[in-house]
């Protein structure tokens, strides 16, 4: 290599090094300037199949953060939302979570809606000692110390109230369980069967169709032929619409063949047209019609935030609970780290729209108030049954966890 080219090479590599270093230097300045702010991750899909529901969750998280900031933020710092769109793809969830944790250095991610997405984010938050605040009701059987299951119902909180109610109040005893084919509906069916055995209900069918399946004719005629006198539905997403419509088209009415769902919220009812869901039941801890002063304020605030025709629903309320409880826990801990927040949040209570919500210190799940709603003509639900007190969360109820014999404790899951 002659002298001239070597000099040119050195010059070029010098520039290259500067170019590489520049973003880091700039970012350093950025961080120093924003010392009074704390970035927090918001990760709900704005595009893709689950966007319809997750969009409202995104809005709700932003609204809750704005509320906290208006009251002076957390530990004197304003929360700065960093919004990512994981596009309904589990792999993108994992990528975006890594980006939020490593690049944006957020201490917490409010995000995910489906179990598949939570499972994709789990290894990221566990390895990086970060925190995911998970909102949706799910199948249980998880005991992570890097996930705060705030407002998220587990099977016993949706089934312990509804199945005995269907038997006692409606006098039904032959249950057909139908669901989309993945972890949540199968986990729900598992717990349902244990409870049915206890209360003397017969399970006459337990069937699944793939997520997104829209040809429900055969399934509905199979339900009719099974002799079932009540249906429990764990069907998810657009399939719900096709399923309810098919029931109507084949001449079934919810008066004669009642249906109780664990998944059909105000959003899905609006999408299918309320007349198709009229009279069907839903078991969830929150409905827009819950009569607490907190909920009236919540519904009013959300309508002001997202538009007058917006509806509130259970997954959204859970997001609201999650953001507020995380902020309270960080305030109490005096720090934003996952470890600090998690150790402070146990036993903490929040007056949520659904009523008092308390985090169990053992399993980081929430005490929630089980409710049953009956769909009415305007697409909202009348509450026909509710527990007087919040119910203990048992994520491992499908494998026999009970209040006396806890399987998920502070030291992890013991099976």
């Amino acid at each position: 290599m002659n002298d001239k080219t070597r000099r040119a090479f050195l010059q070029a590599s010098g520039f290259a090094a500067m170019g590489l270093a520049a973003p880091a230097i700039l970012r350093l300045g950025d961080r120093a300037w924003a010392a009074e702010e704390v970035p927090v991750g918001i990760m709900y899909s704005l595009t893709g199949t689950t966007a319809i529901v997750e969009k409202s969750m995104n809005q709700c998280a932003q609204m809750a953060i704005a509320e906290i900031n208006a009251k002076g933020g957390v530990l004197g710092k304003q929360l700065r939302p960093v919004i990512e769109d994981p596009a309904s793809e589990p792999r993108t969830y994992s990528e975006k979570a890594r980006k939020l944790v490593m690049e944006d250095q957020v201490p917490v991610i409010f995000g995910c809606y489906t179990t598949a997405s939570r499972k994709a984010v789990l290894p990221v938050v566990e390895r990086r000692k970060s925190l995911l605040v998970w909102p949706t009701w799910y199948e249980g059987e998880e005991c992570s110390k890097n996930v705060l299951y705030a407002g998220s119902a587990v099977p016993n909180q949706q089934l312990e109230n509804s199945l005995p109610w269907l038997k006692k109040k409606l006098g039904r005893s032959k249950l057909f369980i139908v669901g989309s084919d993945y972890a949540f509906p199968r986990g729900m069916a598992k717990t349902s069967k244990t409870i049915c055995q206890k209360i003397g209900m017969e399970v006459v069918g337990d069937e699944y169709l793939p997520l997104g399946h829209t040809e429900w004719a055969s399934m509905v005629s199979k339900i009719g032929a099974s002799g079932a006198d009540v249906i429990f539905s764990n069907v998810v997403g657009d399939s719900i619409v096709a399923f309810y419509r098919e029931l109507r088209n084949q001449g079934y009415s919810f008066d004669k063949l009642p249906l109780c769902s664990s998944t059909t919220t105000e959003v899905e009812i609006k999408a299918m047209g309320p007349e198709y869901a009229l009279g069907s039941y839903v078991s969830l801890p929150y409905f827009q019609t819950v009569e607490t002063p907190q909920n009236q304020a919540f519904v009013k605030a959300f309508k002001a935030y997202a538009g007058a025709d917006a509806v509130t629903h259970a997954a959204m309320e859970a997001v609201y609970i999650g953001v507020h409880m995380w902020a309270m826990a960080a305030e109490k801990a005096g720090e934003f780290t996952a470890k600090g927040v998690v150790s402070a949040v146990g036993g903490m209570s929040f007056d949520a729209p659904q009523g008092k919500v308390t985090i169990d210190p053992q399993n980081l799940h929430s005490y929630l108030t089980p409710r049953i709603g009956k769909t009415r003509a305007d697409g909202l639900l009348d509450i026909v049954d509710q527990y007087p007190e919040p119910l203990l969360p048992l994520p491992y109820s499908s494998v026999g966890e009970s209040a006396e014999k806890r399987l998920c404790t502070t030291s992890g899951a013991s099976l």
């Binding site: 319809i52 040809e215 004719a217 657009d238 419509r245 109507r248 001449g251 999408a271």
Partner: protein
């Protein structure tokens, strides 16, 4: 009996989608991957027309036919007609069109950029009100027959008959058949094959649009609803034999019934599996499909 009627209605939808595809493939050897999107457009026409024009589902049938036929004509004139004889290119081009159409519906035909939102479009799920008389069930031979499914079957038979008449009893039909058997000879005899192509494409798309109206009554309407139909319809075309009305009819019926019976007996997942197996078996023993056009 109920299972049989469900099978018939599944078959009817398959038939309507596949018929258009078969005509298009038969005449111009173009595999139209945007065909499923024609179903989607038909469904959206129903959503918009019932919501904004106050039409009922019956009036939507001819309207959706016209609208999707216009879409078809536009696609044929602008893209497909430039790619004749290049099977792979048309495959890619029509697939691209399919994606564009899906996204256009999602972004309100681009109007969302200017802040205009049309109620009924967008990424959300939509629904269509079904007239009360179609929501009932008939009791026949000890079985409950959903009226809506019977209605779907009726329309399919009607369209099948209309298509048969068009193909075998009109001047356009004989031209179309001539073009599909021997394009150059037909052209040499004075048949305007470009015009025949364009009209056949439009007609095929129109049929898919009608299927879309019927589908909207018992399924969810969303931008990506069409994708699954094109696969199923293509199976029907292949199994029935290309360019054969009777073949498409028989294949749609058989495949619809197979899916329905296996789905009731086991479940829908097995139904689809057996469906694919049946198609493979048909192709093993009759590589040209069930019915073959004899030509020298």
């Amino acid at each position: 009996m109920e299972t049989f009627v469900i099978g018939l209605s599944i078959g009817s939808i398959l038939f309507m989608v596949a018929l258009g595809l078969a005509i298009i493939y038969g005449t111009m050897k173009v595999i139209n991957l945007a065909h499923g999107e024609m179903v989607m457009i038909g469904a959206y026409v129903t959503v918009l027309a019932t919501r904004h024009l106050g039409l009922n589902i019956y009036l939507c049938l001819p309207l959706a036919f016209l609208v999707t036929a216009m879409f078809g004509l536009a696609i044929e004139r602008s893209v497909v007609s430039r790619l004749y004889g290049r099977l792979l290119d048309t495959l890619l081009a029509t697939w691209g069109i399919a994606l564009i159409l899906q996204q256009l519906v999602r972004i309100h035909f681009g109007l969302a950029l200017f802040g205009i939102k049309i109620d009924g479009l967008g990424a959300d799920l939509q629904n269509v009100p079904v007239p009360v008389e179609l929501q009932q069930t008939w009791h026949l031979l000890g079985a409950n027959i959903p009226v809506y499914r019977a209605f779907v079957f009726g329309i399919a038979v009607l369209l099948g008959a209309a298509t048969w008449w068009l193909l075998y009893r009109t001047r356009f039909g004989s031209q179309l058949r001539a073009v599909s058997v021997a394009r150059n000879t037909a052209a040499a005899c004075g048949v305007n094959d470009k015009k025949v192509n364009a009209l056949a494409f439009a007609y095929g798309c129109g049929l898919a649009g009608v299927a879309g109206v019927l589908v909207s009554g018992f399924k969810t309407v969303s931008p990506d609803m069409g994708t699954s139909y094109v696969v199923d319809a293509f199976l029907v075309v292949v199994a029935g034999g290309v360019g054969q009305l009777l073949g498409t009819f028989a294949a749609a019926g058989i495949l619809g019934e197979v899916q329905s019976f296996v789905a009731t007996w086991l479940n829908d997942v097995y139904g689809r599996t057996v469906l694919f197996a049946v198609v493979i078996l048909i192709l093993l023993f009759k590589p040209q499909g069930l019915f073959v056009t004899k030509s020298r």
